[in-house]
């Protein structure tokens, strides 16, 4: 009998990659979707036609219980979150509700419906915030510096707590930044590659950014969803850092992205203080040694290749928009 999985955050970047991956492994895949007439449902349906969508909301625990009872999953992947750090400062309570408390609602729903269901929590390198050591491992203390980071720390601890207190197979994957052509436009990598495409095609002339000296460990989302799945196939539940171990600055990303289309970023980028976060994290770089040795996981897409794919994809998308409409839609 084939396995069944339920994914929250199905309309996000990772949701569609994970759904594709699980479908390719023969899973019956269900995606939790919230809201009436959610416009993003059509997009994810187009990417993964085999996907079954079911209504539910991390705000509402009884809707989670109903979704679990209806779909009988063997595995639940909790990818849903208010995941944009800057927004979390403006909607701190909502971030706590969804990104933090939503994890507990799902864990508790699993405990009620069937505690044998395996649970994956999408934790984040933002939990390390003002880092206490470099690189960061599963043992590095957390020092979050945003409402998003604080809520993710809560989600991590409560996942560990359900594992240790109730004996559930609940694991936390501490994922460092991971990007793809499907990354949301609010994230800096995609904002840059989309901006490059627009500038290249003559729609815009400048790109406004915050701190271009920020350093990040950027991987490819398609690689990272494989690690999520592997974590739930182990004998014993455990937590893993998933990262490339390489760090790059936004400046390097700009070099690669503009270079890909034969432009100089210095001619187009304007540093705008409005985009600076109240407390920016300094240097995040993960040590995925445990994931490599225990899970046999490793990344397959290098940083330059990742940026090249994103720029190419955005060039095609912007060009298609230009052809379809005389004027492209505003972002």
């Amino acid at each position: 009998m084939s396995k069944s999985a339920l994914i929250t955050g199905i309309t996000g970047q990772d949701g569609s990659y994970l759904a594709e991956h699980l479908v390719s492994l023969g899973y019956e895949v269900h995606g939790l979707i919230r809201g009436q007439n959610n416009p993003r449902a059509a997009i994810v349906r187009r990417i993964v036609p085999e996907l079954h969508l079911i209504e539910g909301d991390l705000h509402d625990q009884s809707s989670l219980i109903s979704a679990l009872e209806a779909t009988h999953p063997d595995e639940v992947y909790n990818l849903a979150a208010i995941s944009f750090v800057a927004l979390s400062f403006k909607q701190a309570i909502n971030t706590g509700e969804i990104t933090g408390l939503g994890v507990t609602r799902m864990l508790d729903a699993i405990r009620v419906v069937n505690p044998k269901i395996r649970f994956y929590q999408a934790s984040s390198s933002e939990m390390f915030g003002k880092v206490r050591e470099t690189p960061q491992t599963e043992l590095t203390p957390f020092h979050p510096r945003s409402p998003y980071g604080v809520a993710k720390v809560y989600g991590h601890y409560i996942t560990v707590n359900y594992r240790e207190s109730y004996g559930m197979f609940a694991v936390s994957g501490i994922l460092f930044n991971h990007e793809s052509p499907r990354r949301g436009l609010e994230f800096v990598s995609r904002k840059i590659t989309d901006g490059v495409a627009r500038i290249k095609l003559g729609l815009e002339t400048e790109l406004r950014l915050g701190n271009i000296d920020s350093l990040r460990d950027w991987g490819f989302a398609g690689d990272y969803v494989r690690a999520m799945h592997l974590m739930l196939q182990q004998e014993e539940p455990d937590d893993f850092v998933v990262a490339t171990g390489e760090t790059h600055s936004v400046r390097e990303l700009l070099e690669l992205a503009f270079g890909q289309v034969g432009l100089r970023w210095q001619d187009h980028v304007v540093v705008d203080e409005r985009f600076l976060r109240p407390a920016d994290v300094a240097m995040l770089v993960g040590d995925a040694g445990k994931a490599r040795s225990v899970l046999g996981w490793q990344p397959t897409v290098s940083f330059p290749e990742l940026i090249a794919r994103m720029v190419d994809s955005d060039l095609r998308a912007v060009a298609a928009d230009l052809t379809a409409n005389s004027a492209p839609k505003p972002r």
């Binding site: 701190a92 309570i93 933090g100 408390l101 957390f142 979050p144 604080v150």
Partner: protein, 339 residues
């Protein structure tokens, strides 16, 4: 308006610490407002001078209304679902009150635009599974219960609002603190009440979980002084408030039962059903920062606290109707029900 009275809003006013803190603030000349849940029974320990305001930590709008009505310069957030054991039964409700509650208070402070100072009552349970002892303000958090996880969220949220958003928000990381007003669900009070009742012939045995539990137990009236001091500093910070001494449940039993001339070994039965799913190992706080910067120090030692609690429980029994075979338990202060 420097001649105007200082105003404080206290949440969790019906718990153990709330009445002690209200007494202290009233002595210091504050106008004290207490946040209570709609319909909540307010115990007689809450001083009559406290102005009660209805509101819920789960309802941000009610907190904004309470701030607008009380116009406090200082907020003391003591409200929480305080039972660690019960937190395993309803982790969602615990997180909503104990964790997100402080976030809602902070957002109400931010929305008010007033320079309100906030004191958050953090708990040693945020260190639950700490690998080093004693713990201080720099010890990495390691909560091991839904209560501890929610308290960790609250603690880090307060730090974030202090560091990133410039709000005067301080925490006191309180180790266990007891008093005659401790709720009957807590192990210390459970033991002192049992010692009193057994000595009066009202009961014969006491059922307990893990007797190896070791804690750093202090005196609640001492601890509320640290809360007030933490808001009178130039800048906001975190302070561990603890005695730095640990004692086991066995020692507690020794002192409590011997104070009424009994040997606890003849009355205590260990009951595996009372074990928590996970139990923190050795919690002991290093309060050096509170001692040096706040000038704080505890005034009661462990034995004196336990004896005071047993004596108070005996008084309650003796003040109640003549002991009958099925005498009801003492009418103690009610804690906010968890959740």
């Amino acid at each position: 308006m420097s001649e105007a009275k200082r105003r404080a809003l206290v949440t969790g006013v019906t718990g153990q610490d709330g009445p002690y803190l209200c007494e202290l603030l009233l002595e210091q000349g504050y106008e004290v407002h207490g946040l209570v849940m709609p319909g909540e029974v307010v115990p007689r320990e809450v001083p009559a001078a406290v102005r009660l305001r209805e509101g819920l930590l789960t309802d941000g709008a009610s907190l904004q209304a309470a701030l607008a009505a009380a116009q406090p310069q200082e907020i003391y957030n003591l409200a929480a679902a305080t039972s660690v054991a019960a937190s395993f039964d309803d982790p969602v409700a615990v997180a909503d009150v104990t964790g997100l509650g402080v976030l809602r208070v902070l957002e109400a402070v931010r929305a008010s635009g007033a320079p309100i100072r906030l004191l958050q009552a953090s708990s040693s349970e945020i260190f639950g599974g700490a690998t080093s002892s004693p713990q201080d303000e720099t010890t990495p958090l390691c909560p091991t219960s839904p209560y501890g996880v929610a308290k960790a969220f609250a603690h880090q949220t307060v730090q974030l609002y202090r560091r990133s958003l410039g709000i005067f928000a301080a925490t006191v990381i309180l180790y266990n603190h007891e008093s005659p007003r401790r709720g009957p669900g807590f192990v210390t009070r459970k033991i002192t009440t049992a010692a009193a009742r057994i000595s009066r012939g009202l009961e014969a045995e006491l059922r307990l979980g893990n007797l190896d539990v070791v804690r750093d137990w202090g005196y609640a009236p001492d601890y509320v002084r640290a809360m007030h001091l933490a808001l009178q500093q130039e800048t906001a910070d975190d302070y561990v408030v603890a005695t730095g001494e640990t004692h086991s449940l066995g020692e507690l039993l020794d002192i409590a039962f011997s104070s009424v001339g009994l040997d606890w070994h003849r009355h205590v039965v260990t009951d595996p059903g009372l074990l928590r799913p996970t139990e923190p190992v050795r919690l002991c706080g290093d309060a050096t920062r509170a001692r040096t910067r706040l000038g704080w120090a505890p005034t009661r030692d462990f034995a004196a606290i336990v004896r005071e609690m047993v004596a108070a429980d005996l008084d309650r029994l003796d003040q109640a109707a003549p002991p009958a075979a099925s005498a009801p338990g003492p009418t103690a202060a009610r804690h906010q029900p968890p959740g």
